[in-house]
Symmetry: C2
Subunit: 595 residues, 2 copies
Amino acid sequence: MPSYTAPMRDIQFVLHELLNVEQELKSLPAHADVDVDTINSILEEGGKFAATVIAPLNQSGDEEGCTYVGDGVVTAPKGFKEAFAQYVDAGWPALSADPEYGGQGLPHFVNNAFYEMLNSANQAWTMYPGLTHGAYEALHAHGTPEQKKVYLPKLTSGQWTGTMCLTEPHCGSDLGLLRTKAEPVGDGRYQISGTKIFISSGEHDLAENIIHLVLARLPGAPEGTKGISLFIVPKFVPNADGGIGERNAIKCGSIEHKMGIHGNATCVMNLDGAYGWLVGEPNRGLNAMFVMMNGARLGVGMQSLGLAEVALQNSLAYAKDRTQFRAAKGPVNKDKPADPIIVHADVRRMLLTQKAYTEAGRAFSYWLALQIDRELSHPDEKVRKDSADLVALLTPIVKAFVSDNTFETTNLALQCFGGHGFIKEWGMEQFVRDARINMIYEGTNSIQALDLLARKVLSDGGAKLKKFGKLMQQFIAENAGDESMKEFIEPLMDIGDKVTKLTGEIGMKAMKNPEEATAAAVPYQRVVGHMVYAYFWAKMAKVALAKQSSGDGFYTAKLATARFYFAKLLPETAGYIRQARAGSDVVMGLEAALF
Amino acid sequence: MPSYTAPMRDIQFVLHELLNVEQELKSLPAHADVDVDTINSILEEGGKFAATVIAPLNQSGDEEGCTYVGDGVVTAPKGFKEAFAQYVDAGWPALSADPEYGGQGLPHFVNNAFYEMLNSANQAWTMYPGLTHGAYEALHAHGTPEQKKVYLPKLTSGQWTGTMCLTEPHCGSDLGLLRTKAEPVGDGRYQISGTKIFISSGEHDLAENIIHLVLARLPGAPEGTKGISLFIVPKFVPNADGGIGERNAIKCGSIEHKMGIHGNATCVMNLDGAYGWLVGEPNRGLNAMFVMMNGARLGVGMQSLGLAEVALQNSLAYAKDRTQFRAAKGPVNKDKPADPIIVHADVRRMLLTQKAYTEAGRAFSYWLALQIDRELSHPDEKVRKDSADLVALLTPIVKAFVSDNTFETTNLALQCFGGHGFIKEWGMEQFVRDARINMIYEGTNSIQALDLLARKVLSDGGAKLKKFGKLMQQFIAENAGDESMKEFIEPLMDIGDKVTKLTGEIGMKAMKNPEEATAAAVPYQRVVGHMVYAYFWAKMAKVALAKQSSGDGFYTAKLATARFYFAKLLPETAGYIRQARAGSDVVMGLEAALF
């Protein structure tokens, strides 16, 4: 069985040495008194909870899966319910929730770091609280005061869980096609009918009630995405005192059998005149749902980071333990018949690739979560706007780039085990199967690439991208005279220049032909992702350089990993830039019938 | 359930229009009378057999898996046994076997094309006959006349099946560590004791007997790989009349639960003084086993090609059927609410990537199989040697490059399905899970990369590589004046030059430090693989250019796919070349303890 230990040293490095969050929080009145010790002690507890309560259920949950008992009843794998009760009892769901509704009011990045650990321990389990927190956020942003009063305390406590119901059999990415109908009853309620599929955590036995956020169309609503409204559809309608009332006509019809995340119930939900309550304005449902979707996209980044970390830990342990062949330069383990495989260059390539992507993913995603805190609670409007722009720009990167990288790194981790990696017992192949969904749900990675290039970059003439560029330029300027930073600063400048040039080229071509953008989007996204990682690796290298004389091997490793990143991973952009430049004809030229 | 139709048009294109096999066979006396019609009618029948008998058992075999009944007894999934009986009755195992032992004596490439189709239909099932054919080949090359007389007819008919028993719990890649012992009894028999793991098709109910080829050590044998001998260890010892005799002490202890290929039994085999017969010379067992291993490596290439083809077929059908969003330039399906997703540039990228890798893989692997026929039966010794060198050089490419590409393309095929790709029912995720093993078994892809660079390229100063280079140069010279071929010839020359330069650089550095080779091997292998594919794409483009005026859309598609390959896939070498040049320090520098 794989093991997991929360990577506290690296988490603390990112939060305190790289991002200096205590200082950052001083400018956010809502969090000004949150200090290093508070953060560390919460995350240490959280890491223990993840490692000791949730992780032991990962492999058994995969093996057992969820069960459709019949008549709409679904049970999660053994132990999931009890672990969720422990989670609720300890108050974890409330971590970064609003104190007005029972939350602890901690910054988002603390919750994010906690979620990294939960996901390392068990992605399938973590989706139950994860979607709950997403539903909380959507209602917090768009619910009426009454809705907030009824639902937020229950979602904050974890007494009730939440879902997002978007997909229908004929509409996945293209929500404009959705058909689920909402008929007004006349008393403020709506009756909703339709079929939703792929509803994660749609039905289960972890909580007494499930609050579904459902997209549907009002009578006479415009076609397409401008005629979609958002509704709260509770499994049990809350009664006057906030408790459990009548069973609503939303019912699980079946659960899917999937490649991975077996422990999470992926449900077909049938709505047969279920009562719902409108959230936000009519026909503006996608706008309200985007709060939840953006949260979910960052959430997918944290799932991917979590899997990358646990896969790295286990493959590293195996590489130190498993002996096979001699080191190329001669025996290391002279008294044994073979050396540990970590002596071999290609095993090291596989480990360092995992390490470089995982640690950059952590630095980047924690920083992005901090931007969300700035966006939500910085007193200066300009700072809020800048942070919001950075979050908007980089949400597709945290979703797609991190999940693509994790699919690569979990596969490298599996590969380190040789044939054993393919055997279920070792647990490595589960990480790969679980990681695979992250490239698909919450908007496929193709959709993310289009979102990045078309909506986030080209639509404002690169204004948001320039805001990230400004951060890079500042950092480059600060280090211009530092000879020891040259090896990091030069390639960072280079990739920044290349992104600027590539963006301009695609933008020019796309004005004449929109397919020039759609054909370039995926390789473009990988180039931008690497620019972001190069920035964070350069910044981490700077911290490590300053502290390497301490003799702490952590900084030696950090520097070596930075160098590996610049030498072995960033160079893949050379290929992607060429692919992004190849133009659309080569993709669009062939008639569909001739494929 | 996924569907499969044998890709006869493309198979015939490769065999007859690209490779002109009928002409090639005229110079091989053993096959001089095999003509186009014979080949086509055999493969058409083979394709039907694969599609109608084997393919329907793929998904059910995955779901059910093999069963360890107890006391060494294993059953394959429902229907496997009956399908194998049909396979045997129809004489398929004999296709390219020696007529002296009941074979049909057809060229190897015909068998290879047949195996592509079997693997598209069902990789797990195909491993039973595939390993049997491998055991046949090893015994055919190294068995005594008596051994051949006893075993080859039964393996040729398919009445008995075969396995290769190499791996032990503590030794996978590093066979030098193996411990299984063989004690001479004194009457020509040996008693063999030890534990073998990961034995594919090690025990099952498909055939009345199983012939294990087992690596073991004789008493006093030298340590390492030079003290390993090869033995025939039959499940039932054949009696005097060639029938089934006494049960031998080789027994399945358990079967593995794996990520994929569930329908093939992966066995722990316990040998407890089992009787064995030496094959070839004492202590030269690895040499004899390499016949089987090289065959198995080409076999993995055919497994990977088969999976790539079937995944492509299904994702293409889905992309033409599933409607979602409008085309970027405006509606195509005006009377429907959305367009088929094949109108979208990124879906086309995913389809064309699959198509480009699959069709190049077919051209390359069929050509390689033809080289084996030349190696085995060309009357001119120099031709035999040249072909043998090309086969040796390119076996790691057909194993690793094709399987790496297939893992990418089966994942792209899954991705085309969006969320449905993650659902078992659609069958796409099985292709990914099955494809994953191909990067591991028969020598991991890291081992293949080392084999290519160190053993096949550097050890003879690039002599074998130059033989492939000569083929390229000939083709380049033939097309020097052809303006219409320029777009293919120029990048082909370019990648050839780059490989020459890169090989020289790594060779120079590796003379001083062997880790310079081990650190560069994997990206080097991808660059060489692309050079090979660029050569075959240029050759296919030439055929297509010559015939495009026929109006047959097949050639239009072939040319478009060639252009896509050169524009969008070959460019990834730009990144890999930089990675291969990065040197070993960046990989080897960090102390293992600091990882």
